[in-house]
């Protein structure tokens, strides 16, 4: 993986790499180290001194029912976001793949939501489901369903899941569409000649061929649900009602900035670091697999 031909000198390359290294140290490694350090202390009420508590913050954290609930919330949330964003995307991609004409136009239209920021998506969905003026909430009421995501925990979860998944459908659609176009037509034709109908062909041939893409999207969407959906949750529910939509990243923010509980927030950051580490390893394990495909 190394070049045979290189330039001489060591000062120039050090200068070239310096900006990136400097920014990484100041804004990445130092803060991450600081988070680990702070997680071992409790500041006194006046913020004048720090008391060493060892793993006390972690012990306290995992005994905190709200924190444990937040783990469950995050698991439920990311599973639902992954499902709700991948299944419709696959369905639309299969449809687009069957079209010889017009697939490009549909693709252009379907890309739009990807460009919409999660926080803006949150506002759009909030507007539709607003309990006072939302159009969808209004018609649900007309049908006899009393929609109120401000009070009902499941409805709040449903709304943040849909709002988070919406833009992601575009993303998953693009990857599935590209993967479907790469499936050899001759394999499909052969199955068709053998008498396999569309859905049978889809489940026995196409879906297995798509599995590398599916696995890749699973990991990427879980990472998205964990770390990039803060904007949606902050705009729609602010973690409520009764913390029903407080995912781990939201809790770090809520405890660290709103609650000013620095020790606990730092301990939560460290837990998240471990989670990101595991997800990254998973991602790279998979990237290696994908090369063999």
């Amino acid at each position: 993986m190394d070049k045979r031909v290189t330039f001489k000198g060591w000062l120039l390359p050090l200068l070239l790499i310096a900006p990136q290294v400097l920014i990484s140290v100041v804004f990445f490694f130092y803060p991450a180290g600081e988070a680990v350090w702070q997680s071992l202390f409790i500041p006194d009420p006046f913020g004048l001194s720090m008391q060493y508590v060892g793993l006390g913050n972690f012990e306290f954290l995992f005994n905190d029912p709200y924190y444990r609930a937040s783990f469950v919330t995050t698991a439920v949330f990311s599973t639902l976001v992954t499902l709700v964003s991948m299944v419709p995307a696959l369905f639309l991609a299969v449809l687009a793949d069957r079209l010889v004409k017009g697939a490009g136009t549909y693709r252009t239209l379907l890309i739009w939501p990807y460009a919409v920021a999660p926080a803006v998506a949150g506002v759009l969905w909030l507007f539709m489901f607003n309990t006072r003026i939302g159009v969808v909430a209004f018609y649900l009421n007309q049908l006899g369903y009393d929609w109120n995501h401000v009070l009902n925990q499941n409805e709040a979860m449903g709304l943040v899941v849909v709002a988070s998944s919406w833009g992601r459908i575009s993303y998953n659609f693009l990857f599935y569409f590209a993967a479907l176009q790469a499936v050899p037509k001759s394999v499909i034709e052969a199955a068709a000649i053998d008498g396999a109908r569309f859905w049978r062909r889809f489940f026995t041939i196409v879906l297995p061929l798509l599995s590398p893409t599916t696995f890749f999207l699973l990991v990427v969407n879980i990472v998205y649900a964990f770390f990039e959906t803060f904007g949606v949750i902050h705009t729609i529910t602010s973690g409520g009602p009764q913390q029903a939509t407080t995912i781990l990243v939201y809790k770090v923010y809520a405890d660290g900035f709103v609650g000013q509980d620095l020790g606990s927030s730092a301990a939560q950051s460290v837990v998240l670091l471990v989670v990101v580490g595991l997800l990254t390893v998973l991602q790279f394990k998979f990237v290696e697999k994908r090369v063999h495909y």
Partner: protein
Amino acid sequence: MADIRKEPPPGMVEKRGGALWLTHALMIAGVLVIFFPIWLAFVASTHTQPEIAQAPMPVLPGSHLIENYKRALFSGVNVPVATMLLNSLVMALGIALGKIAISLLSAFAIVYFRFPGRKFFFWMIFLTLMLPVEVRIVPTYQVVAGFGLLNSYSGLILPLIASATATFLFRQFFLTVPDELAEAARVDGARPMRFFVDILLPMSRTNIAALFVILFIYGWNQYLWPLLITTKPEMNTIVMGLKQMFPSGDDIADWPVIMATSILAMIPPVIVVISMQKLFIRGLVDSEK
């Protein structure tokens, strides 16, 4: 043998008559459902507050488009939206161009030189992949505050600028550049930076453009970071300022202006994605590899 490998003509498998129309119909239905939230926001941005507040609100555009957008752009709620648009533009461009610049330089150093600590720095950059800003918000905030960078463009841009992904992308690409080019440059007595500027940069044009599209949207759509470090309304970016436009408590939100703002917030990234669609898809696939 040649016959077997030949692809059958397209359309041999169920692309006839009824099935084709059904596919189109389902596709159109899908697009309509996906588009509905954007359409509704646009409609709301063309009506007056009472028209929207009277449920159910209309689903066709009204006649107050210019008035609402003018009000949003030049007065807004806390600060004119034009100001927030400018802040977002500076932030998105700063992040995209900054990431590309420092990644190009460090990838060049790693691929084309042998210097002490090369492997160490490489792994160091690699590790930043595992540290999204969401994970280290409190200490990073303290660092930025310590430098006095709250409410500044540098504070918005710098902490988000280091990018392992972009560095790896350029590294991969540089590794595919034929050795003969560097060899020739060396024989001709060209200095490394000459080679970088005259040969490597022009060759990376497409990669740079594809990455720019992805990074511009990444920068534009940031929410948590600007929320933390911009306490003055005049430094708000449009994506985070949108939420600040909602009144606290029971006051009625100014929906026409808020919806006009959300449309304004999505126009620049949508234009970038649609007009550079090919580059965008390429960048998406490249940066996830």
